[in-house]
């Protein structure tokens, strides 16, 4: 096993540099007595040192690894005995052997966690060699004490976890489906504002939930059928103080061989603070978006006023519409709390700026565009729509545009990364010809999705047909 996973296991016990605890002191006293040794230690082997959770007969609380014998012990299956440390090549140059306290004999039983990781050793040390090592009884006792030490460590960690559960506001529960009895953890009772209880009727807890949120929680019927929703969030009125709290609950069913639900158990967490933060964040997002759209409106106003007497008025109109396309994409983004926008919603919002959305057929899976790509994506769709309205299918009655998108594995690339493909197809319009002039719009179209340049536009007799490809990671990024 790697040292990294061993060290992770050691960390999970939260032992290093903690104060002495009597149960571990008892263990080293017993080991010392049984093995008739002057020194006994509970030694934990960390990345750069060994640290003693309990020690008897020595003043050191830790040593560097080059002064450690336990670092060799943890490589053994369960026990390392070195009758004379001056003769063993692994230990003869150890400073504790060559200098004071001149240790000579070592016997260490590995402290091995349930998952197999060696955390350290329970060891006894003597200052004279012991050619015969430990007796059979002593060996068996040292191994038994090491196992007991692991039991102590296990309970110590579990108790710590319970403490952490309280700090994190996570409670647990189990409901017996047949009787409807709920068995709560102490933290569950605290979250729900109940006195500490061993058990309670589940429906007495359910009435604490706000009536408008009660449809989603589990009840006698949905627990019996095993259909209760497994992850829900709801509000409760805490009976102690009447406070309104948000609770997140995750549950799972335990079923018998025939699939019948026996028990419904899981965890609850008070998420009131998180909900408040989310609400504040949403308000902030809306305020920012509002300011941004006002700024876009100002940019539009400045440009229009500045260019009022310019010769190319269609250009001024095109500018204003591009600004609007950006603002619409921003709306779609905000609707999802800035966490990306759906392809369908973005296309629908952007084509609506200048065209009748009813003349579009949109088809494709639910795919999200990332926040970084959504603005350039919306500009691309806007330019295609503008061309369709001016020269293409939408310039004539009855013409239509279908937009299809999909994700697929790109066979041509070696890394098999998924690719996003967007197809734009106009039908029922006049015969189209490639544009003579390469303006901003056609450059935008040519640059494709996320500026990847993978675009193909064909001017067919019945309308434009365009296809755009980009790595899905680019689009959703």
């Amino acid at each position: 096993m790697s040292d990294a996973s061993r060290l992770a296991a050691l960390r999970s016990y939260n032992l290093l540099d903690t104060p002495p605890e009597p149960q571990f002191d008892d263990v080293v006293q017993l080991a010392r007595t049984i093995c008739r040794a002057p020194v006994a230690l509970v030694s934990l082997v960390a990345a750069d040192r060994q640290w003693f959770k309990a020690r008897a007969g020595i003043d050191l609380v830790e040593t560097p690894l080059d002064e450690s014998v336990c670092v060799h012990a943890i490589k053994e299956r369960e026990l390392l005995v070195v009758p004379d440390l001056t003769l063993d090549p692994r230990t003869r140059d150890n400073p504790l052997v060559t200098g004071p306290p001149h240790i000579r004999f070592y016997a260490g039983a590995v402290l091995r966690a349930a998952d197999g990781e060696a955390l350290g050793a329970l060891c006894v040390i003597d200052t004279v060699p012991r050619p015969d090592g430990l007796s059979g009884e002593q060996t068996a006792s040292l191994l038994a004490l090491a196992r007991q030490t692991m039991v102590l460590l296990h309970y110590r960690r579990a108790a710590g976890a319970e403490h952490a559960q309280e700090a994190g506001g996570v409670g647990t529960f189990e409901i017996d489906v047949a009787s409807g009895t709920l068995f709560p953890s102490p933290e569950f009772c605290r979250i729900f504002g109940l006195p500490p209880l061993h058990s309670i009727d589940a429906d007495k807890v359910e009435v604490l939930v706000l009536s408008e949120d009660r449809a989603q929680i589990s009840n006698t019927a949905t627990r019996r059928t095993g259909d209760a929703v497994l992850e829900v969030q709801y509000r409760i009125h805490r009976p102690m103080d009447g406070a309104l709290r948000w609770v997140a609950r995750r549950g799972e069913f335990e079923r018998d061989g025939t699939g019948r639900a026996l028990r419904f158990s899981g965890m609850v967490q008070d998420i009131t603070e998180r909900k408040h933060l989310e609400a504040e964040q949403q308000t902030l997002n809306e305020e920012l978006s509002h300011r941004m759209k006002n700024t876009l409106a100002m940019v539009d106003a400045i440009a229009t006023q500045t260019l009022r007497h310019a010769a190319d008025q269609p250009a001024v109109v095109a500018f204003g519409r591009r600004i609007q396309a950006l603002a619409r994409a921003h709306d779609v983004l905000l609707g999802r709390a800035m966490a990306g926008a759906s392809v369908r919603a973005t296309i629908a919002a952007v084509v609506g700026v200048i065209a009748d959305a009813a003349r579009f057929d949109l088809a494709g899976p639910d795919v999200d565009i990332g926040t970084r790509s959504v603005l350039s994506f919306s500009l691309l769709v806007h330019e295609l729509t503008t061309n369709a309205v001016k020269y293409g299918a939408l310039s004539r009655d009855g013409g239509r545009v279908s937009v299809m998108w999909r994700t697929q594995i790109d066979d041509s690339s070696s890394n098999q990364a998924p690719v996003f493909v967007l197809e734009w197809r106009e039908r029922g319009g006049p015969t189209v010809v490639p544009p003579e002039r390469r303006g901003f719009g056609s450059r935008l179209i040519a640059s494709g999705l996320s500026g990847t340049g993978r675009s193909e536009v064909r001017y067919l007799t019945d309308g434009v047909s365009a296809e755009f490809r980009a790595p899905l990671a680019f689009v959703s990024g």
Binding site: E286, D300, Q305, R308, D331, L334
Partner: protein, 119 residues
């Protein structure tokens, strides 16, 4: 026949000037107010006003939604067009026969709507 009169209510001067220019170029006459209070004063003194085009986010006590509701109540024949940078403006917030444009709005669409209302 005189030009139909549109009262523009917008606290941001640049956006107000812009709106006035657009609307005048389309053949309307305009009045400009920077707040709901100013707008009410125009309405109380000038009976020719046919349409009020107002921003929703206005300084002071009365925003555009409350202004529109007040106008619908006191001057029922006047047509109302609202605009805002806010995304969420529900139909319930709009007065009867109210129209809404999200900022930045399309000049062409705004003018078409104003023309349809002034007939």
């Amino acid at each position: 026949m005189s030009k139909p009169l549109v009262l523009i209510v917008e606290d941001e001067p640049l956006l107000r000037i812009h709106a006035a220019t657009l609307i005048e170029e389309a053949g309307f006459a305009t009045l400009e107010a920077g707040s709901a209070d100013e707008a009410i004063k125009f309405l109380e003194t000038d009976a020719r006003i046919q349409i009020v085009f107002t921003d929703i986010d206005l300084p002071g006590g009365m925003d555009g939604i409350r202004l529109a509701a007040a106008i619908r109540h006191r001057w029922p024949p006047i047509e109302l067009v609202l605009t805002s940078g806010h995304v969420k403006v529900s139909d319930a917030d709009l007065p009867e026969r109210g129209h809404f444009f999200s900022k930045p709005y399309d000049a062409g669409q705004l003018i078409r709507t104003l023309r349809s209302l002034s007939h």
